[in-house]
Symmetry: C2
Subunit: 198 residues, 2 copies
Amino acid sequence: MADSSTEEKIREAAHVVFTRKGFAATRTRDIAEEAGLNLALLNYYFRSKENLFDIIMKENMQRFLKGISGVLNDESMTLKAKLTVIAENYINMLEKNPDLPLFILTEIKANPEKLAVDMNFKEIILRSNFYAQLREALGNKLNPFHIIMNILSITIFPFAASPILKIVGELQQNDFNALMEERKKMIPLWIEAMLKVE
Amino acid sequence: MADSSTEEKIREAAHVVFTRKGFAATRTRDIAEEAGLNLALLNYYFRSKENLFDIIMKENMQRFLKGISGVLNDESMTLKAKLTVIAENYINMLEKNPDLPLFILTEIKANPEKLAVDMNFKEIILRSNFYAQLREALGNKLNPFHIIMNILSITIFPFAASPILKIVGELQQNDFNALMEERKKMIPLWIEAMLKVE
DNA sequence: GTCTATAATTCGATAGAC
DNA sequence: GTCTATCGAATTATAGAC
């Protein structure tokens, strides 16, 4: 990090600032300052703010999928085992990238067509072994998509809402992290309990 | 709505645009266009973009609390009854204001001090009869704040993530609405199931 | 490659006619 | 009160020296 190339410094700074503040609220000056470099270098290496943003967007989209995609189609794992691994991996990733959820939600809403590019969320989730296992566990009591939404909700939402939750719950960063650690164990149990609801 | 005053037209347009795009991505010209009026009138009636935004922010914060605060301290209702009313009211509100969650999450993150103004989320939730009932139902198995987070998560997150969920689940607006209707009934059942987890 | 200085554009705000 | 025209500040992008 200390002596990475100039191009790399800019990319890292752009990652930090864009992910924290989103496209619209970010000024290229913020990125230059974060990188400890001159404003002109951003355009020299990346041509435009949009172009630099698109690179960061792709990185963030991939990070958002990583940690799930590998697990979903492992046919040797039970549903419960998959839930455990997914919750663990995802919360680990979110602890390192706490700004990611709000970034993804905001930028996809502003620019939905960027979701379709490259990666097929549809294929990855809806045609996975995991989804089939969910469907089987539910019988035809319920649309399995509800459970997908619930897993994503209870895993991701606390990070997206952390500024509010910290104030409401009077939590320091330490307290918040401790709660998220507890959730790694609890989320699979909660989801299993939901699956049994009639 | 058709022949409301100019000031009211601006306020309505500002509500729509600010809530959909957030402060940073909104241009005052967008609001003027949405209102079908001239740009100069915004400053004539509201002095500045910031000032107009603060008004919309307050409206949206209050709307975000309405539908909960009344129920939380009704001592005649059981926990289950409260959960039912909260899920029902909140999803009704979110169906009418689908942009509200992302707006609140984004603007509080950008400006956390605006949460403290006026309303005390802390008091309203943590010292409510509802919270006491949660604590009792859980014994000391679990920090009740987890359940608060879970209620908020499974209720609010699907609206914040709706652009993504629609693409991933191949849902039209009709399909999405139908799922949210189902959730009104399911959320209390899911939360009750979570409370029993050891 | 890197920097300073500046051009070009966008955007919030205002002056002034009606 | 409402509009057109425009100013001035902020911001992206670039020219040109080193």
